[in-house]
């Protein structure tokens, strides 16, 4: 068990200009915490994980595990275990040998290795497959062997690099829950990389969002969802994505077609202090609802309805100023509007809006 810290850590790949794959990462992970690194491809999340594993150099700054500086320690001296996206099982070894390899290298007596491997195999439902080679296993079983190999080590930190991305959708959901439960039970500090924001939200105690090598925000899933620090986080977290539009400001609030959204005094003052006449206005699909005929609302033409059973997502265009802008609204799955229909859309709650600086993207509302 150990806490992990990135101290202004950077990874710079040579080139013209040099690529800062991870840029001044400042992040600490508490002992026993499950931290998810999330971001689009090329955001540096895997590089950050590999830096922690010792598979990638740290060009600037430092990394500590359990308070010990491991910046220049080779992987084997870091007391970590890693689950790779490809699982990276040893193809020439049986499942049992794969799982016991690290202990064998450490010189643990054979009987003890057998015992630990058997215990991990029981935990992961792999007992039947201990004598098989990886190629004789299904994708899900291979994934569990990779987990087992990490568990048997009893490391102080687990590192997982998109371990579920090679599984089919159903198995992925199932395994997601299993990994989260296992982590809870073992209480081992875990850093988990994914590009899937649903995985990030459901598994992590905290989620760190990266973009272009720069940490955007690190917070609990709830906080990330309710108070995104900038427009990127707002658009990345949540599915379907938040509606983000640049709208003009008036004295009362933000003006959308046929609807003026009242804004808090703090938000208006903040915008005024920056001298802004426009703001990036964000509202999640579920914070919008269809309005009745006598309510104020934006006029929207329905262009697409995605029915998901319980809910339906209505895609439509709303005029803002001169241009039509696409909005997504979540509605009750039992009574969705029809294609081409004109509907009125309003806010579920005036507090559920997010304001961002139109240029920097930083959050404005308090």
């Amino acid at each position: 068990m150990a806490e992990v810290a990135y101290v202004n850590a950077s990874r710079v790949f040579p080139g013209t200009p040099p690529v800062r794959a991870v840029d001044n990462l400042e992040l600490s992970v508490a002992d026993g915490e499950f931290l998810v690194l999330v971001g689009p491809s090329g955001s540096g999340k895997s590089t950050a994980l590999r830096m922690l594993a010792g598979l990638e150099d740290v060009d600037e700054g430092a990394i500590t595990i359990g308070g010990k500086d491991v910046t220049n320690t080779p992987p084997k001296g870091r007391d970590i275990a890693m689950v790779f996206q490809s699982y990276a099982l040893y193809p020439h070894m049986t499942v049992a040998e794969n799982m016991g390899f690290a202990l064998k290298l450490r010189g643990v007596p054979k009987a003890q290795i057998r015992e630990k491997v058997a215990e991990a195999a029981r935990m992961l439902d792999l007992t039947k497959y201990l004598d098989r080679k990886p190629k004789a296993l299904s994708g899900g079983q291979r994934q569990r062997v990779a987990m087992g190999r990490a568990i048997v080590r009893e490391p102080s930190v687990f590192l997982m690099d998109e371990p579920l991305s090679n599984l089919d959708a159903k198995l992925r959901v199932e395994t997601r829950a299993n990994i989260a439960a296992l982590q809870q039970r073992l209480g081992t500090t875990t850093i988990y990389v994914t590009h899937d924001q649903v995985e990030a939200m459901t598994m992590g105690h905290r989620v760190a969002v990266l973009k272009d090598g720069v940490l955007q925000q690190c917070a609990s899933p709830r906080e990330l969802y309710d108070r995104p620090a900038n427009a990127f986080v707002a658009s990345f977290i949540g599915s379907p994505a938040m509606n983000l539009k640049t709208v003009p400001l008036t004295a009362e609030g933000a003006r959308l077609d046929g609807l003026v959204v009242p804004l808090s005094r703090a938000a208006l003052d903040g915008a005024a202090a920056e001298g802004l006449s426009e703001v990036t206005f964000g509202v999640r699909p579920e914070s919008l609802r269809l309005a009745s005929a006598d309510e104020d609302g934006m006029e929207m033409t329905v262009e697409l309805v995605e029915e998901l059973g319980a809910d339906a997502y209505v895609y439509g265009s709303v005029r803002i100023g001169e241009h039509p802008e696409r909005f997504i609204v979540r509605v009750d799955g039992r009574t969705p509007p029809a294609f081409g229909q004109q509907v009125k859309v309003t806010l579920r709650d005036a507090d559920e809006v997010h304001l961002f600086h139109p240029e920097t993207g930083l959050r404005l509302s308090a």
Partner: protein
Amino acid sequence: MVARSMRAEHGPLRRVGTTCVWSLVAFNLGVLAWMLLTALREHTAIFRSPWGLDTAGQFGNFLKAWNDSDFGRAALNTVLVVVGASVTVVAVSAPAAYALARTRTRASGALSTLFAVGVGVPVQVIVVPLFVMMQDAGLVNSLTGLFVLYVALSAPFTVFLLTGFFGSLPEEVEEAAAIDGAGVVGTFVRIALPLARGGLLTALLLNLVGLWNETLLALVLVQDGEKQTLPLALLGFLQTQQYSGADYGVLFAGVAILVLPVLALYLWLGRRIIEGMTVGAVK
């Protein structure tokens, strides 16, 4: 992709290619069969009708060839030198190739190129300086000298072949081993070597076949009859036949003695060679 391969399967080019390949195979098989049959026939009968099948069944030709030209001794020498050199060259080249495949520095790139250049140097060009060098080292007319030369001259090709092989192994597996606590040597021995088994076997076989047939260096370097290798024994046999009246049946038996072990090796492990040479190329 599917459409392309379908077209290729039925296209006219494909048919021409198939015909060429089978003609070549048939020709080679014909030559082989003729050699084997002739080796079992009487000298005069061979000259009377070179393609005939009469008087076949003369296994005495093989015995005569074996006894007359000291093939037994030569076979032992060849096995010792060739097997020893092949195993040694693979053992030496594998770590070098692994290091070249896994380090990305300017030096490793230059070294890889150097080995690639080595593959292109014909032995005929350097045979004289080699002889002088070996003489200075006191290794002329000795099997040890031949062994040393075989190892040295086979190394470039073997390193070149194995570098490609190690390069095609998935790096993540080695990273997993590094995290599991294996050092560089441990990763090489426990992970890379077992995974590269196919490539190592291919390198071993290609060296065995190549060195088994090697004549020029042996001819230049070895003078004593008791130190000669099989190709030399065959040459010597040809010469004695020329003086004492040729017996082509016996001569063909001698050729067969040289060729058959290699043929057996191919029949046994040929599939592995093909697999080894194409691994990583497709997929």
